[in-house]
């Protein structure tokens, strides 16, 4: 741009007093001249500057509407566009850790289990170990909660945020359950036991580890519950008679009632101790925990 608008003309344009011909000329010039647009901003009244600033913020937030109709509703300017401008990638990484590791875990596990069901020799091998898999499956979500706490964000800043307490714990646990329920359903399919029969003990161990976590921290509690359950399974698998009893513990009606009672009790403990997830120990208690 080799010329710039006269300051007096710009002032008249900003005030709305410029003749039509001058206004048109200035508008055409402004569309291609950043220097004059900047100069114009100095002549605007404060309320006009605020109005423009608010309009700009709205434009940046809402984005351009691609078109009217269905495309406009779901496209970049519609709900897809609005959702994509939320901080979901950051939240996903902060809550679960590296997304590619979880995606890889689910895909590889599913493919392996799928192949195992198709290839006869693999199927036979998996079926031979199905008892162990079935017994271990309820504790899989708890083990993965421990993994999440090891790999996802756990910095001191998170501990000072309103979402860093119970809300983050529940979000992480729900995300892990959403990832693992389909996998466990596949494992159970080898044994012919409905997935619903696993859900209750699995959920109970999960909520139970959260309840314990209100005292010792969720990561420690998840490790303790996983280790405890694996230990029970190892002992139970040794003599055949006890193994059958363990399967009964998971799926038979009287035991299911006990699982329900434990689940409700764990939920009540989590609710009762909800403020304890907002990490706020004294130096004394931290020192004791460190020296455990």
């Amino acid at each position: 741009m080799s010329w710039h608008a006269d300051p007096l003309a710009l002032r008249a344009y900003a005030a709305g007093t410029a003749p039509d011909s001058v206004a048109w000329s200035i508008e055409t010039h402004l569309s291609g001249c950043a220097v004059c647009r900047a100069a114009l901003s100095h002549h605007l009244a404060a309320e006009d500057r605020d109005l423009l600033s608010a309009a700009r913020a709205r434009l940046v937030l809402s984005g351009p509407a691609v078109s009217a109709g269905l495309l406009g509703t779901v496209g970049r300017g519609g709900w897809v566009g609005r959702l994509s401008r939320r901080p979901w990638p950051a939240v996903r990484s902060g809550v679960l850790g590296p997304w590619w590791a979880w995606a890889g875990f689910v895909v590889v596990s599913s493919v392996l289990l799928g192949l195992a069901s198709l290839v006869p020799t693999w199927r036979a091998a998996v079926e031979a170990r199905a008892d162990g898999l079935v017994l271990l499956s309820p504790v899989l979500p708890v083990a993965l909660v421990a993994v999440v706490y090891a790999v996802a964000d756990r910095g001191p800043v998170s501990d000072t945020t309103p979402r860093g307490g119970l809300e983050l714990v529940l979000t992480r646990t729900a995300a892990v359950l959403a990832l693992t329920v389909p996998l466990v359903a596949l494992i159970r399919s080898f044994h012919g036991v409905p997935a619903a029969a696993w859900l209750l003990p699995g959920l109970c161990l999960c909520v139970g580890s959260l309840a314990l976590g209100s005292w010792v921290g969720v990561e420690r509690a998840a490790i303790a519950v996983t280790t405890g359950w694996v230990g029970v399974c190892v002992v139970a698998l040794a003599p055949l008679r006890v193994r059958v009893s363990m399967e009964a513990v998971l799926v038979q009606a009287p035991w299911q009632r006990l699982w329900w009672i434990l689940l409700v009790a764990s939920m009540l403990v989590v609710l009762w101790r909800r403020d304890h997830f907002d990490i706020r120990g004294s130096l004394q208690s931290r020192h004791r925990r460190m020296s455990l």
Partner: protein, 246 residues
Amino acid sequence: MISIDSLGVRLGRSEILRDIDLDLPAGVHGLLGPNGAGKTTLIRVLASTLRHDTGSVEVLGRSYAKGEDMRWVRQRLGYLPQAAAFHRGFTAREYVEYIGWLRRMPSSDIPLAADRALSRVDLIERADTKMRKLSGGMQRRAGLAQAIVNDPQVLLLDEPTAGLDPEQRVQFRALLRELGADSCVVISTHLVEDVAHACDTVTLIDGGRIVDRSTPERLAALGADADLPGDSAIERGYTATLRVHR
């Protein structure tokens, strides 16, 4: 905005902090003292990550006794710890956005707020770089950006200028003065220059107790005597005050 009354923190038999009384209004306040004086412990109590053993603390008129009140304050708090840990897969922008989400900002406001915070610490051009690939000074600036993403009413900074080069320190001090116009900014530092150039008040802590409350100007006046040890007047004033109380 911050009111502390007879605060005490113990570890075993030793008192890390004792009889701390402090009222901090809006402005930039420095906590100055030698290593191990208790500055970081005090900042952590204010940031609600550490429970005190005696006395009371009120931030924005609420104590941390009730979980609901604590979460209310945490929403209006910004905190930069001495050693900020973060998920290694985050980009600088994702890190700041994630903390914005944890601070319960409306999700539609977070992307713009994160970019604004990164611009204020002069890191917007590296916003999409992984945190682990940023230099120490840049990681520190990303830490500052997360601390201010929610325009906090109370901002707690623990050794904020560690790792910043001289030019960045000057910019940072200007940012502090801007933030302190309507927020309560508390800086824990052992660098006298930070206090001299950015703070409205200075609280000297030594051995877990407050030994003096002053202003940078008054501290500099105390160090007018060139015979005292120190490179600048305020450094000499700081040394002289500590010696008097030891």
